[in-house]
Symmetry: C2
Subunit: 335 residues, 2 copies
């Protein structure tokens, strides 16, 4: 499918919510997150993995409350994360009783979950949810170095965001005012341009984002039709590469482009090229972007969730890092 | 959703195909697999992970050929596997150019992929595909012991199947005769009954299979309405537990029940409680079961794909093993 799929039905993001850690709470979007742990990022748990599960539950619970529905009204929950076998998602929802469909899209999981929840609603399911998370401490020791090692970070490295974001997606109009509506979806293709540096995920993902955006605009329209084209977590390095790649193909996205990885840590020190992780775009979309759709500041948004699909094992085996980017077109609509 | 979702449109499994390793080829279903490597299970690759990727490509290519379509006609590919970050799927399809949605459902991935591909077709996408795989050698060293260690296996342990299965799912009727049609789907809930033995996955998954089957039959019908109720990979231990759990709730599935993990290694030595892994139910469904639907031997089948959602890390942290079971109702229909 090199063209976007237009939803015939009116599918809304009825509510969204986020949970975030200390550094994220101290950043420019800190006031917008629904739940934060400004003490120690443990969310009351004794392992980092359980803390990440707790964030998913907190974000989903907050989104359900905001939508005014109970867990038993969710027909399908789409969830995933960065950890081996997606355990922070699996264990987060083991007692929820919600029908559960596990995803692995790396940092693109928020967009993948929105796409699949929207397709499920389009197919006739009543209400679905999508949730995802990442935690700096569970990810860092799994993908790079033990935390205690205190490894130096390169300038292109990104900081795995400690956060979760949840979205309630439904064909029913559960609230008055303006609601974000999912009008088009476009799953991405895997693109591998030979980057093999685990500390430069932006460069690995940017070609996939360019592939998806170029594919999207092949079927018409131009970047200035949108109020915002927001990528998942390319960071500084990846954002520059994406703009260059698009410009080289005659597509000038720069005036409309923003990146969740840059937004969440804008002005923060020691975050190098910016934020990354499933929780990055999930929390930024669930808080800042969708809030601005609801209040009318943004009417027409392209969300391009980006992910890097390697594992430490494949990198150690010498393989390069494949990237992917899934697109969700969101408009604000009076209901 | 404690009731199954009925598809309004006619969604067919237009074609299916499988690839399998040496032991699987020597088993009772060996002649039914489309591609086998009876030499060394490497499928021409130099790592087990790449061999697993190769199996996914071989199975998908064979399914596409059988459906008479090219990769460019696939609107979305749903793929996943057991490996950390699902890398055998990610790398298998990095050059295919097919829009890609990654899944993590552990051994339930074949059923999860069928569900999501069917929902996507119901929503209006033209043709989708689902593919999954497992490889004994990539899984064993990741989840249990290094192969060279030669660990003793307990009687309840299951043998990760070296195989892949692919399904082309479409609303278009691409072939004459009888085609398998997906009429109902029911994503499962996560169920954790406290099993923590990595060598007894059947016991960990059986309660989830019981939960899904009991939920399904709550909305009417009974097991004898079906020609076959086939679970993914509960093996001997898990199958016994499932039948007991269902019987204790007044549901007698025994006369109709079969298990892919028992079917694939029936009569084989040294496979202990039977087969497991994403490739187990995928290959058995793609070969034996769907062939029998197409030739009219089976007209009405419930497929219940089962998965265990732990990781080695969570087990080492003392957590028990959550299970899940997704249901797909398949009927044979003259087209």
């Amino acid at each position: 499918m090199r063209k976007p799929f237009k939803l015939k039905n009116k599918v809304y993001i009825a509510a969204s919510a986020s949970a975030a850690g200390r550094d994220e709470a101290a950043g420019p979007l800190g006031d917008l997150f629904d739940v934060t742990d400004t003490a120690d990022n443990r969310f009351g748990e004794d392992t980092w993995e359980k803390a990440e599960s707790a964030m998913q539950r907190l974000a989903l619970d907050a989104a359900l409350r905001r939508a005014g529905i109970g867990a038993e009204e969710i027909d399908a929950l789409f969830a995933g994360d960065l950890l081996d076998q997606c355990v922070s998602s699996n264990y987060a929802h083991a007692e929820s009783g919600i029908p559960y469909l596990g995803l692995y899209g790396a940092c693109s999981t928020a967009a993948e979950g929105m796409i699949l929840a929207s397709l499920a609603c389009e197919a006739g399911l009543g209400t679905c949810a999508a949730v995802t998370s990442s935690h700096f401490c569970s990810a860092e020791r799994q993908f790079r170095f033990p935390l205690e090692y205190g490894g130096q970070r390169t300038p292109t490295s990104q900081w795995t965001v400690t956060a979760a974001g949840a979205f309630i997606i439904s064909r029913e109009r559960r609230a008055g005012g303006v609601l974000p509506r999912v009008t088009e979806i476009m799953p991405g293709r895997i693109v591998d341009r030979g980057i093999s540096d685990l500390s430069n995920m932006g460069a690995a993902m940017a070609p996939a984002a360019a592939d998806t955006l170029l594919g999207y605009f092949e079927s018409g329209g131009e970047p200035r039709d949108f109020d915002l084209i927001v990528t998942g977590d390319l960071g500084r390095e990846g954002s520059d590469i994406l703009r260059d790649l698009c410009a080289a193909s005659g597509l000038d996205i720069a005036p409309r482009h923003a990146d969740c990885g840059l937004m969440i840590f804008d002005g923060c020190s020691d975050k190098h090229a910016g934020g990354s992780g499933c929780g990055c775009s999930a929390a930024v979309m669930a808080s800042d972007v969708l809030k601005n759709v609801r209040n009318g500041t943004l009417c027409n948004v392209l969300f391009v969730g980006t992910g890097a699909l390697m594992s430490p094992l494949t990198v150690n085996q010498g393989a390069s890092i494949p990237g992917i980017a899934h697109l969700v077109h969101i408009t604000g609509e009076e209901v």
